[in-house]
Symmetry: C2
Subunit: 247 residues, 2 copies
């Protein structure tokens, strides 16, 4: 961090959150019990969707995976086990309390626009990273709305849109020999009750921890940091993830 932040003090130092004087600040580690929630995964037959569905179901969560093809979703669900069910994306959206969006960026806007009614009132968790690839590797795409998460929020005004689960390796998520996923999941959103639920969901997966990391207007850099992790992976032959220190 440079001294460009000097105007607001040390930008990475602790700044007390403004809270009503009458209400003591709640501990950021005091998260709700989410064990009874049904989690849907749109794009649940892709590597990332499958991996997240597997980890959440293995941790005891009720999980539905969605796909354009209900048959394909049912087939993948049977492979995943742990009670995972498959259906078409619209049915999964309608039947879930929390809906993870793990579809390709290319079809992201179109799918969400088509599910506005089914997703109304739901917590939506966008984990899409808009990236381009060329001979030099990956680079960030800049969605017109600022980020995939902001596009979701614009298309789903009746939903509680959050962003999370961007930096996971699908290879590790799907590897049944891997018991713990060593990563902090950055969770972004406008509404604390919603981001708390998403953090609590991340916390259910062994090794994983949900960390609140700001509003949706700061989602672009979290989404596009995957381009950097891809560079790390190439250089170090790794499946790189992130940890936040001092939290």
């Amino acid at each position: 961090m440079s001294t460009s932040d000097a105007a607001s003090g040390d930008a990475t130092s602790a700044t007390p959150a403004t809270a009503p004087a009458s209400a003591p600040a709640r501990s950021p580690f005091d998260l709700p019990d989410v064990s009874g929630l049904v989690v849907g995964v749109l794009g649940g037959t892709g590597p990332q969707g499958r991996g997240l569905a597997y980890r959440l179901a293995k941790a005891g969560q009720r999980v539905l995976i969605g796909s354009r093809s209900a048959e394909r979703a049912a087939g993948v669900a049977a492979d995943l086990g742990h009670g995972v069910e498959g259906a078409d994306n619209a049915s999964v959206a309608a039947r879930s309390d929390v809906v993870i969006v793990a579809v390709p960026w290319e079809g992201h806007g179109e799918l969400l626009a088509s599910l506005r009614a089914e997703l109304a009132g739901k917590i939506v968790v966008d984990c899409v990273n808009p990236l381009g690839f060329d001979k030099q590797g990956a680079y960030a795409l800049k969605p017109e709305e600022g980020s995939a998460a902001q596009q979701a929020a614009a298309l789903l005004p009746d939903s509680r849109v959050t962003a999370a689960f961007h930096h996971l390796s699908a290879v590790l998520l799907e590897d049944r020999e891997v018991e713990e996923i060593d990563i902090d999941v950055l969770v972004l959103g406008e509404e604390r009750a919603a981001t708390d639920v998403v953090q609590a969901l991340a916390d259910r997966i062994p090794g994983m921890r949900g960390v609140f990391a700001g509003r949706l207007r700061n989602a672009h850099q979290v989404e596009s940091l995957v381009a950097n992790l891809i560079s790390v992976n190439r250089r170090y032959k790794a499946h790189a993830g992130l940890r936040i220190t001092d939290v």
Copy 2:
């Protein structure tokens, strides 16, 4: 990461770097000895510049700090001890092998343009985070060139421009009670010999580790991730930093 990356395989999985068939891939942990290099810090009298200068000098590096005012630089240098010297920015640029840019974003372009001759042939390490602040906290600014680091590269075509040291807490850097800085420094750049030197410099500071994290075209998200760390700090009353897992 979403399945949007499926086209190139699992984007966060290990992909072999292309290397000439005749040369075995060098270990990414095989870094040069940088103990003899002189490190200059432009903006060395601000909190970030002072903190970095202190840590590098304490680790045994020869360090010069620059400021618009040579007198002010000399005064701060005397306070820092460990052999740190102060001078005006141009003298520091001319006398150093590696030059860290820790000035406010507002004056960044103007200063670098004025030092093009002094910085020719040098390794330049940009650690500036272009951020805006309002009542909701910090948010990313988008420099016309894409990032502060890309602006530096455009203004300094004769220099070896890298980007690093974005996520450090000036409070921790300057706190003499703190012995180790628990952080991975993401190092970006186009030329491996230059990023290797910067990684090796980061490695000299106890607790700190330099990790290669891509080309300058992917610097914007690294610079602006500071906005997210500020949100983390507010929520958790922390001085948050990053660690890269599986490396």
